[in-house]
């Protein structure tokens, strides 16, 4: 009887885990296809999105990439870097304010930070467009950047806040007890501890910005970012080189995430010891 129950329990446990892994595997199927298609030779039939023949060419000859793609990637990288920089600085400051300081209007601030994450992109994008048009502000690089900083901010604040509020202030107290000044304590103790959260937030901001389509498409004027290039290419036939960019992005991001995770673990081990 007992044996039967254990057996059933074992099956129950592993069934759920197995189903969970199956769901996870399903989320990776399209990524596998992106990787696969980056090796696809579709020089003859571009309008059919189908695997034809294996080739290294898409990876090896960036010079022969589709017209305008390299420019769009470069534009997306520049915007994502700038948006990440500004959003990470403003967001980190705001996160410190919300976790470490008490002031009137905190709940209003929290609400305004929450709302962009819960609004449909199409509504945010069209609101911004209405603002720019009514003020006669020319659409282009700067309007894309402004929009990206806006929607990255909330995600940065939430991510850094999570790290900061999970922090025990024992170490800071110890530093102060050992006569460290406030700024010494901040730069030598607090900041290094929060850093993995900030790096994670910056990475999130970068991928959100690099990948954004709906808001960007409304506020871009004549500029074409990488997602806009892919969207436009869909109508003419997708050049396989876009999958090279997709695959490279994926590999680089995963490497950074793992690096950050290892850094966080080392830190925790060092603290525990």
């Amino acid at each position: 009887m007992n044996g039967l129950r254990t057996a059933r329990r074992w099956i129950g446990d592993h069934l759920v885990l197995g189903l969970g892994l199956l769901v996870l595997a399903y989320t990776f199927v399209p990524i596998a296809i992106v990787v696969l298609m980056s090796f696809n030779d579709s020089s003859k039939q571009r309008n059919v999105y189908k695997f034809q023949k294996f080739t290294w060419d898409n990876w090896l000859h960036p010079g022969s990439w589709a017209d305008g793609m390299a420019d769009s990637v470069w534009l997306s990288i520049r915007i994502a870097l700038l948006a990440t920089l500004v959003a990470t600085i403003l967001g980190t400051l705001a996160a410190f304010a919300l976790v470490r300081h008490r002031f009137a209007g905190r709940s209003t601030a929290n609400l305004i930070i929450f709302l962009p994450m819960a609004s449909p992109e199409i509504v945010m994008g069209s609101s911004l467009l209405a603002l720019f048009v009514s003020r006669g502000f020319p659409l282009g690089f700067w309007t894309i950047l402004i929009a990206h900083i806006m929607f990255c901010l909330s995600f940065v604040i939430v991510t850094v806040k999570a790290r900061l509020s999970g922090l025990n202030d024992n170490l800071e107290q110890a530093a102060m007890d050992l006569y460290a000044t406030e700024s010494q304590t901040f730069w030598r103790v607090t900041f290094p501890l929060v850093l993995p959260g900030i790096v994670g937030a910056a990475l999130l901001a970068f991928s959100l910005s690099f990948d954004d389509f709906i808001i960007t498409n409304l506020n871009s004027g004549q500029e074409v970012t990488f997602p806009m290039f892919v969207y436009g290419a869909n109508q003419r036939g997708v050049p396989m080189e876009v999958n090279v960019i997709g695959t490279a992005m994926f590999v680089i991001s995963i490497a950074i995430v793992l690096g950050n995770e290892i850094m966080r673990r080392r830190q925790e081990k060092a603290l525990a010891a």
Binding site: G20, R100, R102, P120, E121, I214, F250
Partner: protein
């Protein structure tokens, strides 16, 4: 506890208070100017005289008729958006719950890795991943073959999710499949956060009191994870209802969602008045739905 703080209190407290304001000021201003104020511009543009154009300029005529016209003209797309997003959210809830449950209770030391894998799809382009579904659901692909063999295509055709019985691409089914796939992580993460807080001993207690695993789940685990269910459904439903990329890449002209209309009114037809009105209508419907839902689900601590 008397500390140095108390001695230096009056001076320090005011200084601290101001520091808080200074720290949050730049970010808050950014959101105020580029998130809050634009809503005002949007509402204003929705009341423009519909006879204006971008070139001649719009007159503010408080033309509330825009709303009625926009609603009548686009109610099909509005209904479709809510329906597709609703179905996608329901499927995400079931599928996402399994994954979140597995990570929270069964993953053991692989928990962190699995969580990273949940968000990993975000690291490659959303548009490219959506395009992949074109290939997966292609007419001569094996997915269509299998679906036909098990008569799934017939079933889908009967309930109206596909238009013919031999293809999946360019049908409502494809759009919903795309939405489900793209927004799944938004469901899994809040569900996981909620499940992780559940005290496992309570579930064991249910078992000890002779509740079957099913009963234990529905009477204990699920109610305790309700905040995650509410947050997850909202974070999935809201972006899905406004999305038009899936409808554009995987659907046909008969599967256009409200986002498609708003986008083309703004960027190609340059009809700012109707586009503005549609955006406001979408926002109002979503806010109303969210408030009704949160009230029924009874989760106050959401924000």
């Amino acid at each position: 506890m008397a500390t140095l703080d108390d001695v230096a209190a009056p001076q320090r407290r005011t200084k601290r208070k101001l520091t808080g304001y200074w720290l949050i000021l730049p970010g808050a201003l950014w959101l105020l100017v580029f998130f809050v104020i634009p809503f005002y511009s949007l509402v204003a543009s929705s009341l423009f005289d519909p006879d204006g154009s971008v070139l001649t300029g719009y007159d503010m005529t408080w033309h509330f008729g825009n709303y009625w016209d926009a609603f009548n003209q686009y109610k099909g797309q509005l209904g479709r958006s809510l329906l597709y997003a609703g179905i996608a959210t329901a499927v995400c809830l079931v599928v996402g719950y399994v994954l979140a449950y597995a990570i929270a209770f069964k993953a053991g030391r692989w928990k962190n890795l699995m969580l990273v894998l949940v968000i990993a799809p975000f690291f490659t382009s959303f548009l490219l991943r959506t395009l992949s579904w074109k290939l997966i659901l292609a007419d001569d692909g094996w997915v269509v073959g299998v679906a036909q063999a098990i008569h799934l295509t017939d079933a889908l055709n009967i309930v109206g999710l596909t238009t013919t019985d031999d293809r999946l691409l360019a049908t409502p089914f494809a759009v919903i499949a795309g939405l489900t796939y793209n927004f799944l992580p938004f469901m899994v993460l809040p569900l996981y956060a909620s499940l992780e807080k559940v005290d496992f001993r309570l579930i064991e207690a249910a078992g000890d009191l002779y509740a079957s695993p099913m009963r234990g789940f529905f009477k204990v685990t699920f109610p305790l994870s309700l905040p995650g269910v509410v947050a997850g459904t909202l974070l999935t439903f809201i972006p899905a209802a406004g999305d038009y990329v899936n409808a554009q890449l995987l659907g046909s002209t008969n599967t256009k969602m409200i986002g498609n209309s708003i986008q083309s009114l703004f960027t190609t037809q340059l009809d700012y008045a109707t586009a503005g009105a549609l955006s406001v209508i979408l926002m109002v419907i979503i806010v109303a739905a969210v408030m009704a839902y949160v009230r029924t689900a009874g989760t106050e601590e959401l924000v």
